[in-house]
Symmetry: C2
Subunit: 312 residues, 2 copies
Protein backbone atom coordinates (compact mmCIF):
# COMPACT_ATOMS: atom_id res chain seq x y z
CA UNK A 1 0.00 0.00 0.00
CA UNK A 2 1.26 3.46 -0.78
CA UNK A 3 1.15 5.59 2.36
CA UNK A 4 0.90 8.77 0.33
CA UNK A 5 -1.75 7.77 -2.19
CA UNK A 6 -3.85 5.48 0.00
CA UNK A 7 -3.79 7.19 3.38
CA UNK A 8 -2.08 10.59 3.43
CA UNK A 9 -3.92 12.19 0.53
CA UNK A 10 -7.43 11.09 1.56
CA UNK A 11 -6.53 12.03 5.13
CA UNK A 12 -5.52 15.53 4.09
CA UNK A 13 -8.83 15.80 2.20
CA UNK A 14 -10.61 15.00 5.48
CA UNK A 15 -12.05 11.64 4.45
CA UNK A 16 -13.45 9.85 7.49
CA UNK A 17 -12.29 6.36 6.54
CA UNK A 18 -8.71 7.50 6.11
CA UNK A 19 -8.88 9.43 9.38
CA UNK A 20 -10.26 6.46 11.24
CA UNK A 21 -7.59 4.20 9.88
CA UNK A 22 -4.82 6.70 10.62
CA UNK A 23 -5.96 7.07 14.25
CA UNK A 24 -6.02 3.28 14.60
CA UNK A 25 -2.51 3.09 13.14
CA UNK A 26 -1.24 5.47 15.80
CA UNK A 27 -3.18 3.72 18.58
CA UNK A 28 -1.94 0.28 17.66
CA UNK A 29 1.64 1.21 16.89
CA UNK A 30 1.31 0.14 13.23
CA UNK A 31 4.63 -0.18 11.39
CA UNK A 32 3.79 2.90 9.32
CA UNK A 33 2.71 5.04 12.30
CA UNK A 34 5.94 6.96 12.74
CA UNK A 35 6.26 7.70 9.04
CA UNK A 36 2.65 8.85 8.93
CA UNK A 37 3.15 11.31 11.78
CA UNK A 38 6.38 12.61 10.23
CA UNK A 39 4.54 13.29 6.96
CA UNK A 40 1.61 14.94 8.74
CA UNK A 41 3.67 17.10 11.08
CA UNK A 42 4.55 20.01 8.76
CA UNK A 43 0.83 20.58 8.07
CA UNK A 44 -0.25 21.20 11.65
CA UNK A 45 -1.28 24.25 13.60
CA UNK A 46 -4.59 25.22 12.02
CA UNK A 47 -7.08 23.65 14.42
CA UNK A 48 -8.50 25.21 17.55
CA UNK A 49 -8.57 22.56 20.29
CA UNK A 50 -11.22 22.86 22.99
CA UNK A 51 -11.47 20.61 26.06
CA UNK A 52 -14.81 19.76 27.68
CA UNK A 53 -14.27 18.13 31.03
CA UNK A 54 -16.36 17.40 34.10
CA UNK A 55 -17.92 14.72 36.25
CA UNK A 56 -19.99 11.84 34.91
CA UNK A 57 -23.54 13.00 34.47
CA UNK A 58 -22.65 16.66 33.96
CA UNK A 59 -23.89 16.53 30.38
CA UNK A 60 -20.53 16.81 28.62
CA UNK A 61 -21.63 14.78 25.60
CA UNK A 62 -24.74 16.87 25.02
CA UNK A 63 -22.78 20.10 25.43
CA UNK A 64 -20.10 18.81 23.06
CA UNK A 65 -22.68 17.84 20.45
CA UNK A 66 -24.42 21.22 20.69
CA UNK A 67 -21.13 23.08 20.42
CA UNK A 68 -20.27 20.99 17.37
CA UNK A 69 -23.65 21.79 15.81
CA UNK A 70 -23.21 25.50 16.47
CA UNK A 71 -19.82 25.43 14.75
CA UNK A 72 -21.21 23.35 11.87
CA UNK A 73 -23.86 26.01 11.31
CA UNK A 74 -20.97 28.40 10.64
CA UNK A 75 -19.58 25.98 8.07
CA UNK A 76 -16.73 24.69 10.25
CA UNK A 77 -15.47 21.14 10.17
CA UNK A 78 -15.51 19.71 13.69
CA UNK A 79 -13.71 16.74 15.21
CA UNK A 80 -14.88 15.20 18.49
CA UNK A 81 -12.63 12.97 20.57
CA UNK A 82 -14.49 11.31 23.43
CA UNK A 83 -11.85 10.17 25.91
CA UNK A 84 -13.43 7.18 27.48
CA UNK A 85 -13.01 6.16 31.10
CA UNK A 86 -13.41 2.47 30.35
CA UNK A 87 -10.84 0.12 31.71
CA UNK A 88 -7.83 -1.12 29.76
CA UNK A 89 -9.41 -4.57 29.80
CA UNK A 90 -12.53 -3.86 27.81
CA UNK A 91 -10.75 -1.53 25.42
CA UNK A 92 -13.54 -0.58 23.06
CA UNK A 93 -16.05 2.19 22.82
CA UNK A 94 -19.06 2.00 25.10
CA UNK A 95 -22.53 1.44 23.78
CA UNK A 96 -23.69 5.03 24.27
CA UNK A 97 -20.81 6.35 22.20
CA UNK A 98 -21.50 3.93 19.41
CA UNK A 99 -25.13 5.03 19.19
CA UNK A 100 -24.03 8.64 19.31
CA UNK A 101 -21.48 8.10 16.58
CA UNK A 102 -24.09 6.54 14.32
CA UNK A 103 -26.34 9.54 14.88
CA UNK A 104 -23.66 12.10 14.01
CA UNK A 105 -21.85 10.04 11.40
CA UNK A 106 -24.24 11.11 8.64
CA UNK A 107 -22.60 14.56 8.53
CA UNK A 108 -19.20 14.48 6.76
CA UNK A 109 -18.29 17.75 8.49
CA UNK A 110 -18.28 16.09 11.91
CA UNK A 111 -15.87 13.32 12.81
CA UNK A 112 -16.37 11.59 16.16
CA UNK A 113 -14.12 9.02 17.75
CA UNK A 114 -14.11 7.35 21.13
CA UNK A 115 -10.62 7.12 22.57
CA UNK A 116 -10.50 4.21 25.00
CA UNK A 117 -7.80 3.59 27.53
CA UNK A 118 -5.52 0.99 26.03
CA UNK A 119 -3.46 0.00 29.02
CA UNK A 120 -0.30 1.07 27.26
CA UNK A 121 2.13 3.32 29.08
CA UNK A 122 1.05 6.90 28.44
CA UNK A 123 -1.42 5.31 26.08
CA UNK A 124 -4.49 7.44 26.43
CA UNK A 125 -2.74 10.79 26.46
CA UNK A 126 -0.53 9.87 23.52
CA UNK A 127 -3.32 8.38 21.42
CA UNK A 128 -5.51 11.43 22.02
CA UNK A 129 -2.70 13.81 21.07
CA UNK A 130 -2.05 11.80 17.92
CA UNK A 131 -5.74 11.98 17.01
CA UNK A 132 -5.81 15.76 17.58
CA UNK A 133 -2.87 16.13 15.21
CA UNK A 134 -4.45 13.92 12.56
CA UNK A 135 -7.71 15.91 12.70
CA UNK A 136 -5.68 19.10 12.45
CA UNK A 137 -3.82 17.79 9.41
CA UNK A 138 -7.13 16.69 7.90
CA UNK A 139 -8.33 20.27 7.87
CA UNK A 140 -10.72 20.21 10.81
CA UNK A 141 -11.23 23.74 12.13
CA UNK A 142 -12.10 22.81 15.70
CA UNK A 143 -11.31 19.68 17.68
CA UNK A 144 -13.34 19.11 20.85
CA UNK A 145 -11.80 16.77 23.39
CA UNK A 146 -14.39 15.50 25.85
CA UNK A 147 -13.18 13.77 29.01
CA UNK A 148 -14.19 12.95 32.58
CA UNK A 149 -11.11 14.82 33.62
CA UNK A 150 -9.84 12.78 36.52
CA UNK A 151 -6.72 10.73 36.34
CA UNK A 152 -3.31 11.85 35.23
CA UNK A 153 -3.77 11.02 31.56
CA UNK A 154 -6.88 13.13 31.24
CA UNK A 155 -5.47 16.05 33.17
CA UNK A 156 -2.43 15.88 30.88
CA UNK A 157 -4.67 16.05 27.84
CA UNK A 158 -6.88 18.93 28.91
CA UNK A 159 -3.98 20.87 30.40
CA UNK A 160 -2.68 21.64 26.92
CA UNK A 161 -5.78 22.23 24.83
CA UNK A 162 -6.28 25.83 23.76
CA UNK A 163 -9.35 26.37 25.94
CA UNK A 164 -10.42 24.00 28.70
CA UNK A 165 -14.09 24.18 29.72
CA UNK A 166 -14.95 22.60 33.07
CA UNK A 167 -18.59 21.52 33.21
CA UNK A 168 -20.38 21.53 36.55
CA UNK A 169 -23.96 20.68 37.39
CA UNK A 170 -26.26 21.70 40.25
CA UNK A 171 -27.15 19.25 42.97
CA UNK A 172 -24.13 16.96 43.00
CA UNK A 173 -22.85 15.68 46.33
CA UNK A 174 -19.99 16.96 48.41
CA UNK A 175 -17.46 14.59 46.98
CA UNK A 176 -17.78 16.26 43.60
CA UNK A 177 -15.94 19.19 45.13
CA UNK A 178 -12.76 17.15 45.03
CA UNK A 179 -12.87 17.02 41.27
CA UNK A 180 -13.78 20.65 41.00
CA UNK A 181 -10.82 21.57 43.18
CA UNK A 182 -8.56 19.30 41.19
CA UNK A 183 -9.28 20.67 37.76
CA UNK A 184 -9.57 24.23 39.00
CA UNK A 185 -6.12 25.10 37.79
CA UNK A 186 -6.58 23.89 34.23
CA UNK A 187 -9.97 25.60 33.75
CA UNK A 188 -10.21 28.47 31.28
CA UNK A 189 -14.00 28.55 31.45
CA UNK A 190 -16.55 27.18 33.92
CA UNK A 191 -19.86 26.00 32.50
CA UNK A 192 -22.76 25.37 34.84
CA UNK A 193 -24.83 23.01 32.74
CA UNK A 194 -28.41 21.94 33.51
CA UNK A 195 -28.62 25.47 34.90
CA UNK A 196 -32.43 25.31 34.96
CA UNK A 197 -32.18 22.95 37.92
CA UNK A 198 -32.29 23.97 41.56
CA UNK A 199 -28.91 24.75 42.98
CA UNK A 200 -27.33 26.60 40.05
CA UNK A 201 -26.81 29.69 42.19
CA UNK A 202 -25.11 27.64 44.84
CA UNK A 203 -22.71 26.01 42.37
CA UNK A 204 -21.88 29.42 40.97
CA UNK A 205 -21.14 30.75 44.45
CA UNK A 206 -18.88 27.74 45.12
CA UNK A 207 -17.00 28.24 41.87
CA UNK A 208 -16.52 31.93 42.55
CA UNK A 209 -15.29 31.10 46.07
CA UNK A 210 -12.78 28.62 44.66
CA UNK A 211 -11.65 31.11 42.05
CA UNK A 212 -10.93 33.66 44.74
CA UNK A 213 -8.76 31.10 46.53
CA UNK A 214 -6.88 30.18 43.38
CA UNK A 215 -5.76 33.74 42.65
CA UNK A 216 -5.56 33.42 38.90
CA UNK A 217 -2.88 35.34 37.08
CA UNK A 218 -3.93 37.01 33.87
CA UNK A 219 -7.01 35.32 32.45
CA UNK A 220 -9.94 35.24 34.86
CA UNK A 221 -12.06 32.17 33.96
CA UNK A 222 -15.66 33.27 33.38
CA UNK A 223 -18.57 31.27 34.80
CA UNK A 224 -21.34 30.59 32.25
CA UNK A 225 -24.71 28.88 32.44
CA UNK A 226 -26.08 26.49 29.85
CA UNK A 227 -28.93 24.07 29.36
CA UNK A 228 -27.22 22.00 26.68
CA UNK A 229 -30.27 19.78 26.17
CA UNK A 230 -32.16 22.70 24.59
CA UNK A 231 -29.21 24.76 23.40
CA UNK A 232 -29.48 27.58 25.97
CA UNK A 233 -26.21 29.47 26.45
CA UNK A 234 -24.36 27.92 23.53
CA UNK A 235 -23.71 31.17 21.58
CA UNK A 236 -22.36 32.75 24.77
CA UNK A 237 -20.12 29.73 25.40
CA UNK A 238 -18.71 29.93 21.89
CA UNK A 239 -18.15 33.69 22.23
CA UNK A 240 -16.21 33.16 25.46
CA UNK A 241 -14.11 30.38 23.94
CA UNK A 242 -13.15 32.78 21.17
CA UNK A 243 -12.49 35.59 23.59
CA UNK A 244 -10.10 33.28 25.44
CA UNK A 245 -8.41 32.43 22.13
CA UNK A 246 -7.87 36.12 21.40
CA UNK A 247 -6.55 36.67 24.90
CA UNK A 248 -4.05 33.82 24.48
CA UNK A 249 -2.88 35.20 21.14
CA UNK A 250 -2.32 38.67 22.54
CA UNK A 251 -0.51 37.41 25.66
CA UNK A 252 1.85 34.82 24.15
CA UNK A 253 -0.32 32.02 25.51
CA UNK A 254 -0.60 30.07 22.27
CA UNK A 255 3.18 29.60 22.01
CA UNK A 256 3.28 28.57 25.66
CA UNK A 257 0.49 26.00 25.17
CA UNK A 258 2.15 24.65 22.02
CA UNK A 259 5.36 24.18 23.94
CA UNK A 260 3.61 22.45 26.84
CA UNK A 261 1.88 20.17 24.40
CA UNK A 262 5.16 19.39 22.66
CA UNK A 263 6.73 18.60 26.02
CA UNK A 264 3.89 16.25 26.97
CA UNK A 265 4.09 14.43 23.65
CA UNK A 266 7.84 14.13 23.84
CA UNK A 267 7.83 12.85 27.42
CA UNK A 268 5.13 10.22 26.92
CA UNK A 269 6.75 8.90 23.74
CA UNK A 270 10.16 8.90 25.40
CA UNK A 271 8.79 6.84 28.30
CA UNK A 272 7.30 4.28 25.94
CA UNK A 273 10.39 4.02 23.77
CA UNK A 274 12.88 3.92 26.63
CA UNK A 275 10.98 1.11 28.35
CA UNK A 276 10.66 -0.82 25.10
CA UNK A 277 14.39 -0.60 24.54
CA UNK A 278 15.32 -1.76 28.05
CA UNK A 279 12.85 -4.65 27.82
CA UNK A 280 14.14 -5.75 24.44
CA UNK A 281 17.69 -5.72 25.78
CA UNK A 282 16.77 -7.74 28.85
CA UNK A 283 14.57 -10.32 27.13
CA UNK A 284 11.31 -11.85 28.41
CA UNK A 285 12.89 -14.56 30.56
CA UNK A 286 15.02 -12.17 32.57
CA UNK A 287 12.01 -9.85 33.01
CA UNK A 288 9.80 -12.71 34.18
CA UNK A 289 12.34 -13.91 36.68
CA UNK A 290 12.80 -10.39 38.09
CA UNK A 291 9.03 -9.95 38.46
CA UNK A 292 8.69 -13.34 40.14
CA UNK A 293 11.50 -12.39 42.52
CA UNK A 294 9.62 -9.23 43.50
CA UNK A 295 6.38 -11.18 44.01
CA UNK A 296 8.22 -13.72 46.19
CA UNK A 297 9.78 -10.91 48.29
CA UNK A 298 13.29 -11.97 47.29
CA UNK A 299 14.10 -8.56 45.86
CA UNK A 300 12.35 -5.18 46.11
CA UNK A 301 11.26 -3.49 42.87
CA UNK A 302 13.64 -0.54 43.23
CA UNK A 303 16.66 -2.80 43.52
CA UNK A 304 15.40 -4.99 40.65
CA UNK A 305 14.99 -2.02 38.30
CA UNK A 306 18.29 -0.52 39.39
CA UNK A 307 20.04 -3.78 38.66
CA UNK A 308 18.43 -4.13 35.26
CA UNK A 309 19.34 -0.60 34.19
CA UNK A 310 22.85 -0.97 35.58
CA UNK A 311 23.41 -3.95 33.32
CA UNK A 312 21.70 -2.55 30.23
CA UNK B 1 20.09 10.07 60.81
CA UNK B 2 20.16 6.33 61.23
CA UNK B 3 17.66 4.76 58.89
CA UNK B 4 17.31 1.71 61.11
CA UNK B 5 16.96 3.37 64.51
CA UNK B 6 15.09 6.52 63.51
CA UNK B 7 12.74 5.29 60.80
CA UNK B 8 12.74 1.54 60.24
CA UNK B 9 12.22 0.45 63.84
CA UNK B 10 9.42 2.91 64.67
CA UNK B 11 7.88 2.09 61.27
CA UNK B 12 7.90 -1.62 62.05
CA UNK B 13 6.24 -0.82 65.38
CA UNK B 14 3.48 0.94 63.44
CA UNK B 15 4.19 4.47 64.70
CA UNK B 16 2.22 6.98 62.67
CA UNK B 17 4.90 9.65 62.46
CA UNK B 18 7.43 7.19 61.08
CA UNK B 19 4.86 5.85 58.61
CA UNK B 20 3.96 9.31 57.40
CA UNK B 21 7.58 10.22 56.94
CA UNK B 22 8.37 6.97 55.14
CA UNK B 23 5.46 7.47 52.71
CA UNK B 24 6.67 11.00 52.02
CA UNK B 25 10.18 9.69 51.39
CA UNK B 26 8.86 7.31 48.76
CA UNK B 27 6.60 9.97 47.21
CA UNK B 28 9.32 12.56 46.97
CA UNK B 29 12.11 10.24 45.85
CA UNK B 30 14.18 10.94 49.00
CA UNK B 31 17.79 9.79 48.79
CA UNK B 32 17.06 7.03 51.30
CA UNK B 33 13.89 5.80 49.61
CA UNK B 34 15.41 2.85 47.76
CA UNK B 35 17.29 1.65 50.80
CA UNK B 36 14.16 1.97 52.92
CA UNK B 37 12.11 -0.17 50.54
CA UNK B 38 14.89 -2.75 50.28
CA UNK B 39 14.93 -3.06 54.10
CA UNK B 40 11.15 -3.26 54.32
CA UNK B 41 10.66 -5.76 51.48
CA UNK B 42 11.46 -9.02 53.34
CA UNK B 43 8.77 -8.21 55.91
CA UNK B 44 5.82 -7.97 53.53
CA UNK B 45 2.86 -10.14 52.77
CA UNK B 46 0.80 -9.97 55.92
CA UNK B 47 -1.77 -7.32 55.00
CA UNK B 48 -5.09 -7.87 53.27
CA UNK B 49 -5.55 -5.10 50.69
CA UNK B 50 -9.11 -4.06 49.83
CA UNK B 51 -10.03 -1.56 47.11
CA UNK B 52 -13.11 0.66 47.38
CA UNK B 53 -13.83 2.34 44.06
CA UNK B 54 -16.76 4.13 42.45
CA UNK B 55 -18.05 7.41 41.15
CA UNK B 56 -17.84 10.70 43.03
CA UNK B 57 -20.79 10.93 45.39
CA UNK B 58 -21.20 7.17 45.79
CA UNK B 59 -20.25 7.37 49.44
CA UNK B 60 -16.87 5.65 49.24
CA UNK B 61 -15.36 7.60 52.12
CA UNK B 62 -18.22 6.79 54.47
CA UNK B 63 -18.16 3.13 53.45
CA UNK B 64 -14.40 3.02 53.94
CA UNK B 65 -14.64 4.61 57.38
CA UNK B 66 -17.38 2.19 58.44
CA UNK B 67 -15.42 -0.80 57.18
CA UNK B 68 -12.38 0.45 59.08
CA UNK B 69 -14.45 0.83 62.24
CA UNK B 70 -15.87 -2.68 61.88
CA UNK B 71 -12.35 -4.08 61.56
CA UNK B 72 -11.14 -1.97 64.47
CA UNK B 73 -13.89 -3.48 66.64
CA UNK B 74 -12.24 -6.85 65.97
CA UNK B 75 -8.91 -5.43 67.14
CA UNK B 76 -7.36 -5.09 63.68
CA UNK B 77 -5.00 -2.31 62.71
CA UNK B 78 -6.34 -0.61 59.59
CA UNK B 79 -4.63 1.62 57.04
CA UNK B 80 -6.66 3.84 54.70
CA UNK B 81 -5.17 5.28 51.51
CA UNK B 82 -7.46 7.83 49.86
CA UNK B 83 -6.28 8.14 46.28
CA UNK B 84 -7.15 11.69 45.46
CA UNK B 85 -8.34 12.88 42.07
CA UNK B 86 -6.84 16.33 42.51
CA UNK B 87 -4.70 17.66 39.73
CA UNK B 88 -0.92 17.42 39.65
CA UNK B 89 -0.86 21.20 40.06
CA UNK B 90 -2.48 21.53 43.44
CA UNK B 91 -0.75 18.47 44.84
CA UNK B 92 -2.03 18.35 48.37
CA UNK B 93 -4.91 16.73 50.17
CA UNK B 94 -8.31 18.33 49.82
CA UNK B 95 -10.05 20.00 52.70
CA UNK B 96 -12.57 17.21 53.28
CA UNK B 97 -9.79 14.66 53.66
CA UNK B 98 -7.94 16.83 56.11
CA UNK B 99 -11.01 17.14 58.31
CA UNK B 100 -11.59 13.42 58.04
CA UNK B 101 -8.02 12.66 58.96
CA UNK B 102 -8.24 14.82 62.07
CA UNK B 103 -11.39 12.96 63.08
CA UNK B 104 -9.85 9.50 62.73
CA UNK B 105 -6.33 10.46 63.76
CA UNK B 106 -7.14 10.04 67.44
CA UNK B 107 -7.14 6.24 67.05
CA UNK B 108 -3.59 4.83 66.80
CA UNK B 109 -5.03 1.67 65.22
CA UNK B 110 -6.17 3.57 62.12
CA UNK B 111 -3.75 5.32 59.79
CA UNK B 112 -5.22 7.47 57.04
CA UNK B 113 -3.34 9.16 54.23
CA UNK B 114 -4.47 11.06 51.18
CA UNK B 115 -2.46 10.10 48.10
CA UNK B 116 -2.53 13.01 45.66
CA UNK B 117 -1.54 12.82 42.03
CA UNK B 118 1.97 14.18 41.85
CA UNK B 119 2.37 14.63 38.14
CA UNK B 120 5.31 12.23 38.09
CA UNK B 121 5.32 9.47 35.50
CA UNK B 122 3.49 6.54 37.04
CA UNK B 123 3.46 8.68 40.14
CA UNK B 124 0.11 7.95 41.68
CA UNK B 125 0.15 4.19 41.13
CA UNK B 126 3.71 3.86 42.34
CA UNK B 127 3.25 6.07 45.40
CA UNK B 128 0.12 4.15 46.39
CA UNK B 129 1.84 0.80 46.00
CA UNK B 130 4.75 2.04 48.10
CA UNK B 131 2.34 3.19 50.79
CA UNK B 132 0.56 -0.20 50.78
CA UNK B 133 3.89 -1.92 51.31
CA UNK B 134 4.91 0.41 54.12
CA UNK B 135 1.59 -0.16 55.92
CA UNK B 136 2.06 -3.89 55.43
CA UNK B 137 5.56 -3.72 56.90
CA UNK B 138 4.23 -1.63 59.78
CA UNK B 139 1.98 -4.49 60.83
CA UNK B 140 -1.36 -3.18 59.57
CA UNK B 141 -3.77 -6.08 59.14
CA UNK B 142 -5.96 -4.51 56.46
CA UNK B 143 -5.20 -1.71 54.01
CA UNK B 144 -8.20 -0.06 52.33
CA UNK B 145 -7.45 1.79 49.11
CA UNK B 146 -10.22 4.22 48.23
CA UNK B 147 -10.29 5.71 44.73
CA UNK B 148 -12.61 7.25 42.16
CA UNK B 149 -11.47 4.47 39.89
CA UNK B 150 -11.28 6.17 36.53
CA UNK B 151 -8.00 6.84 34.84
CA UNK B 152 -5.26 4.40 34.12
CA UNK B 153 -3.36 4.94 37.36
CA UNK B 154 -6.37 4.17 39.48
CA UNK B 155 -7.42 1.14 37.46
CA UNK B 156 -3.85 -0.11 37.78
CA UNK B 157 -4.03 0.26 41.54
CA UNK B 158 -7.37 -1.43 42.11
CA UNK B 159 -6.66 -4.16 39.57
CA UNK B 160 -4.16 -5.76 41.91
CA UNK B 161 -5.66 -5.34 45.36
CA UNK B 162 -6.84 -8.57 46.94
CA UNK B 163 -10.54 -7.66 46.76
CA UNK B 164 -11.90 -4.79 44.69
CA UNK B 165 -15.30 -3.44 45.76
CA UNK B 166 -17.11 -1.29 43.20
CA UNK B 167 -19.55 1.10 44.86
CA UNK B 168 -22.67 2.14 42.95
CA UNK B 169 -25.52 4.37 44.00
CA UNK B 170 -29.16 4.62 42.90
CA UNK B 171 -30.30 7.50 40.76
CA UNK B 172 -27.15 8.44 38.91
CA UNK B 173 -27.37 9.51 35.26
CA UNK B 174 -26.76 7.47 32.16
CA UNK B 175 -23.19 8.52 31.78
CA UNK B 176 -22.32 6.77 35.01
CA UNK B 177 -22.86 3.54 33.11
CA UNK B 178 -19.59 4.18 31.30
CA UNK B 179 -17.67 3.97 34.53
CA UNK B 180 -19.59 0.95 35.65
CA UNK B 181 -18.80 -0.81 32.38
CA UNK B 182 -15.17 0.22 32.64
CA UNK B 183 -14.47 -1.14 36.07
CA UNK B 184 -16.69 -4.17 35.55
CA UNK B 185 -13.73 -6.39 34.89
CA UNK B 186 -11.80 -5.52 38.03
CA UNK B 187 -14.79 -5.86 40.36
CA UNK B 188 -14.76 -8.68 42.91
CA UNK B 189 -17.79 -7.29 44.75
CA UNK B 190 -20.49 -4.81 43.83
CA UNK B 191 -21.84 -2.62 46.61
CA UNK B 192 -25.04 -0.67 46.08
CA UNK B 193 -24.65 2.04 48.68
CA UNK B 194 -27.38 4.47 49.76
CA UNK B 195 -29.60 1.45 49.08
CA UNK B 196 -32.49 3.06 51.00
CA UNK B 197 -32.94 5.46 48.09
CA UNK B 198 -35.31 4.97 45.20
CA UNK B 199 -33.76 3.12 42.32
CA UNK B 200 -31.71 0.51 44.19
CA UNK B 201 -33.62 -2.30 42.45
CA UNK B 202 -32.90 -0.76 39.06
CA UNK B 203 -29.17 -0.43 39.74
CA UNK B 204 -29.10 -4.04 40.89
CA UNK B 205 -30.83 -5.17 37.69
CA UNK B 206 -28.31 -3.19 35.61
CA UNK B 207 -25.38 -4.71 37.45
CA UNK B 208 -26.78 -8.21 37.04
CA UNK B 209 -27.33 -7.54 33.31
CA UNK B 210 -23.74 -6.37 32.92
CA UNK B 211 -22.45 -9.35 34.84
CA UNK B 212 -24.27 -11.68 32.48
CA UNK B 213 -22.56 -9.96 29.54
CA UNK B 214 -19.14 -10.17 31.12
CA UNK B 215 -19.29 -13.95 31.56
CA UNK B 216 -17.06 -14.16 34.62
CA UNK B 217 -14.80 -17.16 34.97
CA UNK B 218 -14.56 -18.62 38.42
CA UNK B 219 -15.52 -16.06 41.04
CA UNK B 220 -18.98 -14.59 40.51
CA UNK B 221 -18.96 -11.06 42.01
CA UNK B 222 -21.85 -10.78 44.51
CA UNK B 223 -24.06 -7.69 44.60
CA UNK B 224 -24.60 -6.31 48.11
CA UNK B 225 -26.62 -3.44 49.51
CA UNK B 226 -25.41 -1.01 52.15
CA UNK B 227 -26.42 2.24 53.78
CA UNK B 228 -22.95 3.22 54.93
CA UNK B 229 -24.15 6.34 56.71
CA UNK B 230 -25.91 4.19 59.35
CA UNK B 231 -23.80 1.04 59.03
CA UNK B 232 -26.40 -1.16 57.34
CA UNK B 233 -24.88 -4.08 55.42
CA UNK B 234 -21.35 -3.68 56.77
CA UNK B 235 -21.07 -7.12 58.45
CA UNK B 236 -22.30 -8.75 55.21
CA UNK B 237 -19.75 -6.74 53.18
CA UNK B 238 -16.93 -7.84 55.45
CA UNK B 239 -18.11 -11.46 55.28
CA UNK B 240 -18.09 -11.37 51.50
CA UNK B 241 -14.64 -9.77 51.36
CA UNK B 242 -13.39 -12.64 53.50
CA UNK B 243 -15.22 -15.21 51.41
CA UNK B 244 -13.46 -13.79 48.34
CA UNK B 245 -10.13 -14.00 50.15
CA UNK B 246 -10.73 -17.70 50.94
CA UNK B 247 -11.75 -18.32 47.33
CA UNK B 248 -8.53 -16.70 46.07
CA UNK B 249 -6.43 -18.78 48.45
CA UNK B 250 -8.03 -22.01 47.36
CA UNK B 251 -7.78 -21.19 43.65
CA UNK B 252 -4.21 -19.88 43.39
CA UNK B 253 -5.53 -16.34 43.05
CA UNK B 254 -3.33 -14.81 45.71
CA UNK B 255 -0.15 -15.83 43.92
CA UNK B 256 -1.56 -14.52 40.66
CA UNK B 257 -2.48 -11.16 42.24
CA UNK B 258 0.94 -10.89 43.89
CA UNK B 259 2.57 -11.45 40.55
CA UNK B 260 0.39 -8.88 38.79
CA UNK B 261 1.19 -6.41 41.51
CA UNK B 262 4.90 -7.12 41.18
CA UNK B 263 4.65 -6.61 37.43
CA UNK B 264 2.88 -3.27 37.84
CA UNK B 265 5.46 -2.06 40.33
CA UNK B 266 8.33 -3.19 38.17
CA UNK B 267 6.95 -1.59 35.01
CA UNK B 268 6.15 1.78 36.54
CA UNK B 269 9.53 2.03 38.24
CA UNK B 270 11.27 0.92 35.07
CA UNK B 271 9.53 3.66 33.09
CA UNK B 272 10.59 6.32 35.58
CA UNK B 273 14.16 5.12 35.79
CA UNK B 274 14.63 4.59 32.06
CA UNK B 275 13.35 8.10 31.27
CA UNK B 276 15.53 9.61 33.99
CA UNK B 277 18.59 7.91 32.51
CA UNK B 278 17.90 9.03 28.94
CA UNK B 279 17.26 12.60 30.09
CA UNK B 280 20.42 12.71 32.16
CA UNK B 281 22.42 11.50 29.18
CA UNK B 282 20.87 14.05 26.81
CA UNK B 283 21.09 17.05 29.13
CA UNK B 284 18.54 19.84 29.57
CA UNK B 285 19.65 21.98 26.62
CA UNK B 286 19.30 19.20 24.09
CA UNK B 287 15.88 18.26 25.55
CA UNK B 288 14.67 21.87 25.40
CA UNK B 289 15.76 22.28 21.81
CA UNK B 290 14.04 19.03 20.77
CA UNK B 291 10.80 20.10 22.46
CA UNK B 292 10.95 23.54 20.86
CA UNK B 293 11.49 21.87 17.48
CA UNK B 294 8.34 19.78 18.00
CA UNK B 295 6.35 22.87 19.04
CA UNK B 296 7.59 24.73 15.94
CA UNK B 297 6.62 21.80 13.67
CA UNK B 298 10.21 21.32 12.55
CA UNK B 299 10.29 17.72 13.74
CA UNK B 300 7.55 15.32 14.81
CA UNK B 301 7.76 13.82 18.32
CA UNK B 302 8.26 10.24 17.10
CA UNK B 303 11.28 11.22 15.02
CA UNK B 304 12.64 13.38 17.85
CA UNK B 305 12.41 10.54 20.39
CA UNK B 306 13.79 8.01 17.92
CA UNK B 307 16.76 10.26 17.25
CA UNK B 308 17.44 10.81 20.94
CA UNK B 309 17.34 7.10 21.76
CA UNK B 310 19.42 6.22 18.72
CA UNK B 311 22.17 8.49 19.98
CA UNK B 312 21.95 7.56 23.62
Amino acid sequence: MSLTADLLEPLRRGEHRALGRAISWMENGHAGARDLMARVWPHLGGAVVVGITGSPGAGKSTLTDQLARTLRAEGQKVGILAVDPTSPFSGGAILGDRIRMQRIAADPGIFIRSMATRGALGGLARATQDAIDLLDAAGFDTVIVETVGVGQDEVDVVACVQTCCVVLVPGMGDEIQAIKAGIMEVADLFVINKADRDGADQVEREVEAMKSLAMPEGWDPPVLRTVAQVGTGLPELLARIREHGRWLRSHGGLAHKARERARLRFESLLAEAAVRRVKAQAGPERLDSLIQGIADHLVDPYTAVGGLLGEA
